[in-house]
C-alpha cells in the first residue's frame, strides 16, 4: 500500500506515527499539498492511503484505524469516541489556532486560548482515569491521533499551563515514544510551525474558521472578572494603602559588582556578536536586547545582577576582512568593536561591561582551561582532512566554503551548517565545495588537530543537564535541540584550526595553530568578566551562589548546552554552568531573510537614521520577539503597533492621567476615596502585575510586554467609564469622584512607568520626569502601591509618542528593500559586477549615515545599470519570453535603486513588477 504525504500538512504526522506504532509497512510518496491523489474527491486531501485492492482511504483517522486493525487491534467504544471527538471538536479548534498562529501571526497566549477548552477536556479525562494513556495502560490509536493533532501547536509540553498536569505528562510521554519521534523527524523540519503555512494558506478559510467565531477575548475578560475573589480585592486595597513606605530599599551594588552572600546573584550573558558584521535587527532581538530587558528587570527586582557581553573577534573572517581593507586584524577589530559599541549604546543596552575576546585574559584563561583538559586526558589527537584553497593559499574556515548540502542537496549550504535542513556539516563532505572568497575549488589536505573527547564527557553532561533542566528555565527549543544532539550521539569535536588570528595552542607540535572559535568564543564570557574585575572567579567559579542566564538565537544552542559545558565539566574547576538557557527563534524581514549582501533589511547602524526613536524600535522588536516560533519584521505592522498600542493605548492613557492632575487639580494628586469599583480595578491591575512578574521570571519577555498594555487598557477603560472631565464640573460628590479617579489613574501611570522600564527605558524616564516619580520607587514587587500620594506635585505633562505616517513608513520600506521578490535579488547576485564582500551594500561604519556615499560602488553600479539596460533592450527586440524580460527589468530596477543608495540618495525608483502589495 502507498501512503501519500505532503510537506507541511499537519495531518501527515498522525498517519506516520500510527504506521510506526502499529508496524504497518507502507511506501511513502511525497506529493505537493494541492496534489490530487484521491480520484473521486474535488478538493485535494492528503494524507491518503492507496490500498493494493485499489481502495482509497482519505480520512487520516480511518487510515490510522486501518493500521491498527492490521495489527489486530480492534477499535473499542472508547477509541471510537476519542477519534470522533478529535474529528469534530479538537481538529477544528486546532486548525483555527494553527491558522491564527501561522498565517495571521497570533501569539502564544492567544493561540492556546483557542484550544483551551479542548485541552482542559483532555486533561480532565486523563485526571479522572488512573491510566497513563487515554484508553488504558498502553497507547492506542486514540493517543497517537490526539498527540499528532496537538503536536503542531504545542511542540513541547512546556508551553502547557501548569494546571494541566495530567495533559502535560501524557504529552511528554507521547513525545518520547519512538514512532512519534520518528514521525516528527520525517515530517517536520526545524522551521517549527512555519512549515504549515504554505499548506494552511491553501485551505479555504471558511472551513477553518466557521466552527468557532473568534470570541476568545471577551471570554477571557469574563473569566478574569469572575476569578476575582472578595479577599483578593480586599488584599489589593490594603496593599495599595500602604504606599511607598512598603517599598523595600533599592539595592545599590558596589563597583565592581560581585556576588553577595544571601542575595540572589544573577549573571547574564548574551551571545558574543561576531565583530566584522554589523548586527541586524534579528541579531539584536535574539541576544543583546532580550538579555538587556531581563537584566533591567532583575535590577528592578533588587537582584544583584551582572550583565556582560563583548565582540567575538578571532577567526578567519576577521583575517579576510583585514586583507580586504588593508589593515591588520587587530585594527579591524578595534574599528568594528567601536561600531558595535555605538549601536548598542544607541539601543540603550545596559551592559555592565562590554568587552572583547582579543585580550591577554582570553589567552591566559583559554590556555589554562586547555591545560586542565590535557591533564585530565579528555583531549584526542587526530588527522583531519581540510579544505585548502590553493589560490588563496590557506586552509578554508567552515564559513568560507559553500557547496551543496550532502543531506538535503540545498545549493548554498555553508561549510559548518546547512541553512535549509539545519544539519551540521563537515566542510569536506560538501558536494562541489567552493571558496567563498575567490570562487575557486578547494582541495582536501590533511593536518594534525586536537579534539575534545565529547563521548567521554557525555555521562557527566547528561547528569548535569538533567539537574539543570529540572531546576532551570530552558526554552523549549533549547531543550529540543540539545536532546536531538544527545540522541544522535556525541562525537569528538575539533578545537584547533590552521589559522594565525586566534588564541595560540600552547602545545608542542601545534604551535602554528590556534583554538577554533567555538572552543574559544564562549571562554570569552569568562575573560570579558576578567577584564571587568580581577575577582572574576567569584562569578565564574561559584555555582553555589550564582545563577547563570545565557541569551542567544537558536543556532547557538548546541555550543552553549553541549560543547561549552563539556569543556568546563572536563576542566573540573567548579565552574558556573548555565542554569537558564534562553534561545529565540529567527526574526525574518518582511517576507524573507535579512541579507547584508542583498541589501535587504534593517541593520543596527541604520535604525538610528530612520528618525524613529530607539525605544520604539525596542518596543516593536520585543513585541514580536520570536519566542516559540519565527516571527517577521514588517514596516506596516510597526506603524500599526506604534499608532495603536503605543499612541492610542499606552501614550493616551498616561497622558490623560497626567493632564487631569494638571488641569483639574493644579498639578497635585487629589485625595482619593476608594469605592468597590476602584478596589476591583486595583485587584485587576495587581493580577496583571503578578502575571507580568511570573512571565518575566520565566523570561517570557514578549508575553510580559502584553501585560503592560493590558494595564493601560484597564486604565483607559476606567477613565472612559468614570468621565472625570465631566464630573469635575458637577456637584461636590462628583468632584470628589473625579479626584479619586484621577488619583488612581495617575498612580497606574506611575506603575506603568516602572513596568515599562526594562522595555522602553527612555519613555519610562520621561514619564517619571513628567510625574516627578522619586527614584526610590523603581522597584517591582507583587503589589500595586499608591506611590503618588495625595498632595504629590507632578511636573509638566506632554505627549509621549508620535504618530507614524503611512508615506513615511512606505518610504522606509522602499529604502530598506522590503518585499523584493526573492528571485530578482538572486538574479542581482549573479549579475552584479562585483559580488565580493567588500563591494556589498554596507554603509561605511562610523560615517553615522545609512546612506553613506560609496563612489567606487556607484561607478560599478552605473556600469552594471548600463549593461543591464542594453540587455533588456536586446531581449525586447528579440521578442524574448515575457517572464525573461520581466526578470531582467526587475534586476535593472534593483540595480538602479542600489545605485541611488550608493550615490547617497534615497531610492526613488518605481517599484519593480510583481512586488507584493501589502
Amino acid at each position: 500500500m502507498r501512503l501519500y504525504l505532503s510537506e507541511g500538512s499537519p495531518q501527515g504526522l498522525k498517519v506516520l506515527a500510527a504506521a510506526g506504532a502499529s508496524g504497518a509497512r507502507v511506501r511513502l510518496e511525497r506529493v505537493p499539498p494541492d496534489g490530487h491523489v484521491v480520484p473521486f474527491l474535488t478538493h485535494p486531501r492528503v494524507p491518503a492511503l492507496h490500498l493494493d485492492s485499489g481502495t482509497f482511504l482519505f480520512s487520516p483517522n480511518a487510515i490510522c484505524q486501518y493500521f491498527f486493525l492490521l495489527a489486530g487491534k480492534e477499535h473499542t467504544d472508547l477509541t471510537s469516541q476519542w477519534l470522533e471527538w478529535e474529528a469534530t471538536e479538537l481538529q477544528p479548534a486546532v486548525s483555527t489556532a494553527l491558522y491564527g498562529h501561522v498565517v495571521q501571526g497570533k501569539k502564544g497566549g492567544e493561540v492556546l486560548g483557542a484550544i483551551r477548552k479542548t485541552l482542559a477536556y483532555i486533561d480532565q479525562s486523563l485526571t479522572s482515569k488512573t491510566t497513563p494513556y487515554l484508553t488504558g495502560e498502553a497507547e492506542s490509536v486514540a493517543d497517537i491521533v490526539l498527540w499528532a493533532t496537538l503536536f503542531p501547536v504545542l511542540q513541547d509540553e512546556f508551553c502547557l499551563p501548569d494546571e494541566l498536569q495530567a495533559l502535560r505528562s501524557w504529552f511528554r510521554i507521547m513525545n518520547l515514544l519512538e514512532p512519534c519521534r520518528n514521525a516528527v523527524e520525517s515530517v517536520l523540519t526545524p522551521k517549527g510551525a512555519e512549515q504549515f503555512k504554505a499548506y494552511l494558506q491553501k485551505q479555504p478559510v471558511s472551513c477553518l474558521h466557521s466552527e468557532k467565531p473568534a470570541t476568545n477575548e471577551p471570554e477571557e475578560e469574563e473569566l478574569a472578572q469572575r476569578s476575582l475573589s472578595e479577599e483578593e480585592i480586599a488584599a489589593a486595597a490594603d496593599a495599595w494603602a500602604k504606599g511607598a513606605a512598603a517599598l523595600p530599599e533599592r539595592w545599590q551594588p558596589q563597583s565592581p559588582i560581585l556576588p553577595v552572600e544571601g542575595r540572589r546573584n544573577v549573571l547574564i550573558t548574551s551571545a558574543l556578536p561576531y565583530v566584522n558584521n554589523v548586527p541586524h535587527l534579528g541579531n539584536i532581538i535574539g541576544c543583546v536586547l532580550s538579555a538587556d530587558v531581563f537584566a533591567r528587570y532583575c535590577r528592578l527586582r533588587n537582584w544583584n545582577t551582572l550583565y556582560v557581553c563583548g565582540t567575538d573577534e578571532y577567526g578567519t573572517a576577521t583575517e579576510t576582512k583585514a586583507l580586504e581593507e588593508g589593515l591588520t586584524p587587530q585594527q579591524i577589530c578595534d574599528k568594528y568593536n567601536t561600531v558595535h559599541t555605538q549601536i548598542y549604546q544607541w539601543f540603550n543596552i545596559s551592559f555592565d561591561y562590554f568587552g572583547r575576546t582579543t585580550t591577554p585574559h582570553q589567552t591566559t584563561i583559554a590556555q589554562e582551561i586547555f591545560h586542565r583538559l590535557l591533564e585530565r586526558d579528555v583531549l584526542l589527537t587526530d588527522t583531519v582532512e581540510q579544505l585548502r584553497c590553493e589560490r588563496c593559499e590557506r586552509f578554508l574556515a567552515d564559513r568560507f566554503v559553500e557547496g551543496i548540502c550532502p543531506f538535503c542537496n540545498y545549493e548554498e549550504a555553508r561549510g559548518d551548517q546547512c541553512d535549509k535542513c539545519g544539519k551540521l556539516i563537515n566542510a569536506v563532505e560538501l558536494k562541489k565545495p567552493q571558496c567563498k572568497v575567490c570562487k575557486g575549488s578547494p582541495v582536501v589536505k590533511t593536518s594534525q588537530h586536537l579534539f575534545l573527547d565529547l563521548p567521554q564527557l557525555e555521562g557527566r553532561l547528561e547528569q548535569w543537564l538533567e539537574q539543570s533542566w529540572a531546576t532551570g528555565d530552558w526554552t523549549a527549543n533549547a531543550r529540543f535541540i540539545t536532546r536531538s544532539w544527545l540522541r544522535d550521539g556525541l562525537k569528538p569535536r575539533c578545537i584547533t584550526r590552521d589559522l594565525k588570528w586566534g588564541t595560540p595552542v600552547p602545545l608542542e607540535g601545534f604551535r602554528d595553530k590556534v583554538f577554533y572559535v567555538w572552543f574559544d568564543a564562549p571562554i570569552g564570557y569568562l575573560s570579558i568578566t576578567a577584564n571587568y574585575t580581577a575577582q572574576w572567579e567569584r562569578w565564574w567559579k561559584n555555582p553555589q551562589q550564582v545563577e547563570l542566564y545565557n541569551f542567544m538565537a537558536k543556532d547557538n544552542v548546541p555550543f552553549h548546552s553541549v560543547v561549552f559545558p563539556c569543556t568546563l565539566l572536563g576542566a573540573e574547576d567548579n565552574y558556573t554552568l548555565v542554569n537558564h538557557l534562553i534561545a529565540t527563534e529567527y526574526l525574518n524581514y518582511e517576507d524573507g531573510k535579512f541579507s547584508k549582501s542583498r541589501g535587504i533589511g534593517v541593520f543596527g547602524d541604520m535604525a538610528q537614521d530612520t528618525g524613529i526613536p530607539a525605544d520604539i524600535w525596542r518596543f516593536y522588536l520585543l513585541f514580536l520577539r520570536p519566542e516559540g516560533q519565527d516571527s517577521a519584521f514588517s514596516w506596516h505592522d510597526l506603524l500599526l503597533k506604534n499608532n495603536s498600542e503605543l499612541l492610542n493605548n499606552l501614550g493616551n492613557f498616561v497622558n490623560r492621567a497626567g493632564m487631569f492632575v494638571c488641569k483639574f487639580f493644579d498639578g497635585r494628586v487629589p485625595p482619593m476615596e476608594l469605592g468597590t469599583d476602584d478596589k476591583r480595578l486595583l485587584a485587576h491591575v495587581t493580577l496583571e502585575l503578578r502575571q507580568f512578574n511570573q512571565l518575566l521570571e520565566k523570561v517570557r519577555i514578549r508575553d510580559a510586554l502584553r501585560c503592560i498594555l493590558s494595564v493601560s487598557r484597564y486604565g483607559n477603560q476606567y477613565i472612559q467609564v468614570n468621565e472625570p472631565w465631566k464630573r469635575i464640573k458637577g456637584p461636590a460628590a462628583d468632584r470628589t469622584r473625579a479626584g479619586t479617579v484621577t488619583g488612581v489613574a495617575v498612580n497606574i501611570a506611575c506603575l506603568i512607568s516602572i513596568m515599562l522600564q526594562p522595555f522602553m527605558p527612555d519613555v519610562s524616564a520621561t514619564i517619571q520626569r513628567q510625574l516627578c516619580v522619586p527614584q526610590a520607587c523603581n522597584i517591582l514587587t507583587d503589589t500595586f502601591l499608591c506611590l503618588l500620594p495625595p498632595g504629590h506635585q507632578i511636573g509638566t505633562v506632554s505627549p509621549l509618542f508620535q504618530k507614524l505616517e503611512l508615506d513615511e513608513i512606505e518610504a522606509l520600506r522602499q529604502r530598506f528593500g522590503g518585499g523584493q521578490p526573492e528571485d530578482s535579488s538572486l538574479e542581482l547576485k549573479t549579475h552584479a559586477a562585483h559580488p565580493s564582500p567588500g563591494a556589498r551594500m554596507s554603509p561605511m561604519p562610523g560615517a553615522g549615515s545609512g546612506l553613506a556615499r560609496d563612489p567606487q560602488r556607484a561607478k560599478e553600479l552605473a556600469e552594471a545599470v548600463t549593461q543591464q539596460g542594453n540587455h533588456v533592450r536586446q531581449l525586447k527586440t528579440s521578442k524574448a519570453e515575457k517572464g525573461q524580460i520581466d526578470a531582467a527589468v526587475a534586476t535593472l530596477l534593483e540595480l538602479k535603486k542600489q545605485l541611488a543608495l550608493a550615490e547617497g540618495k534615497a531610492a526613488e525608483v518605481p517599484a519593480p513588477k510583481g512586488k507584493k502589495k501589502k
Binding site: S59, N61, Q65, S80, Q81, L83, T88, E89
Partner: protein
C-alpha cells in the same frame, strides 16, 4: 418522535437507527456542547458521546457486527464514511458544500453498490439519514446529474426497516435530460 423532540437531528437519527436494528427498548439521549452531540448514558458504565460512536455501539449491542465491515479494509472504509458523515454533512452546509459532497459521492459510487463496495453497512444507513434533507430538495435535473447517488439512495430507502417515517423520495426511471 416524542422522545426525540428537541434533541437535535443526530439524536433523532439514533432513534431511527435503533428501530432499524430491531432494538426494542429505546435508549434515552442527552445532548452536549455547541454541536449538540448526542450522549448515551449506558446503564452501568460511562456515557458515550458522538453520533458515530453511539451508532457503532448500538450495532454491537444488536449483535449485527457485519454492519461494521468484515475485513480490516471494510472496517476502515465504514469508519471513514462515518467520519465523513459527522464532519462534512454536519448541519450548516452551503450550496457549494452540498454540490461538492454530491459530486464526490457520485464519482465514488460510480462502480459501487454500497459505500463499502458490495456490502450494506452502517455507513450506508447513517449517510442515508444524513443526506435525506439534502436529497429531498434536489430537482429532477439534479437527481439525474448525480445519477449514482440517486441509484444508491433509492436502493437504501427501500432497504427493509431503514426509511421508517421519513418521506420516500421519488426518482425517475427514465432519463429526461439526456445532455445533463
Amino acid at each position: 418522535m416524542a422522545v426525540a423532540a428537541g434533541l437535535g437531528p443526530e439524536a433523532e437519527e439514533l432513534v431511527l437507527l435503533e428501530k432499524s436494528l430491531g432494538l426494542t427498548k429505546g435508549n434515552k439521549y442527552g445532548v452536549q456542547g455547541e454541536r449538540k452531540s448526542p450522549v448515551l448514558q449506558i446503564n452501568n458504565g460511562p456515557s458515550l458521546t458522538g453520533l458515530a460512536t453511539i451508532a457503532t455501539h448500538l450495532v454491537k449491542q444488536a449483535k449485527k457486527e457485519q454492519l461494521l465491515g468484515k475485513t480490516a479494509e471494510e472496517k476502515a472504509v465504514v469508519q471513514q464514511w462515518l467520519e465523513y458523515r459527522v464532519t462534512q454533512i454536519a448541519l450548516p452546509c452551503t450550496k457549494e458544500d452540498t454540490r461538492v459532497i454530491l459530486k464526490d459521492l457520485n464519482l465514488y459510487l460510480e462502480d459501487k453498490v454500497y459505500l463499502a463496495r458490495n456490502n450494506f453497512t452502517l455507513a450506508d444507513i447513517l449517510m442515508y439519514y444524513g443526506l435525506h434533507h439534502i436529497i429531498i430538495d434536489l430537482t429532477v435535473q439534479e437527481k439525474e446529474k448525480y445519477l449514482n447517488v440517486s441509484r444508491w439512495f433509492n436502493h437504501i430507502q427501500h432497504y427493509p426497516g431503514i426509511r421508517q417515517h421519513l418521506s420516500s423520495i421519488i426518482f425517475m426511471k427514465n432519463r429526461l435530460f439526456t445532455n445533463a
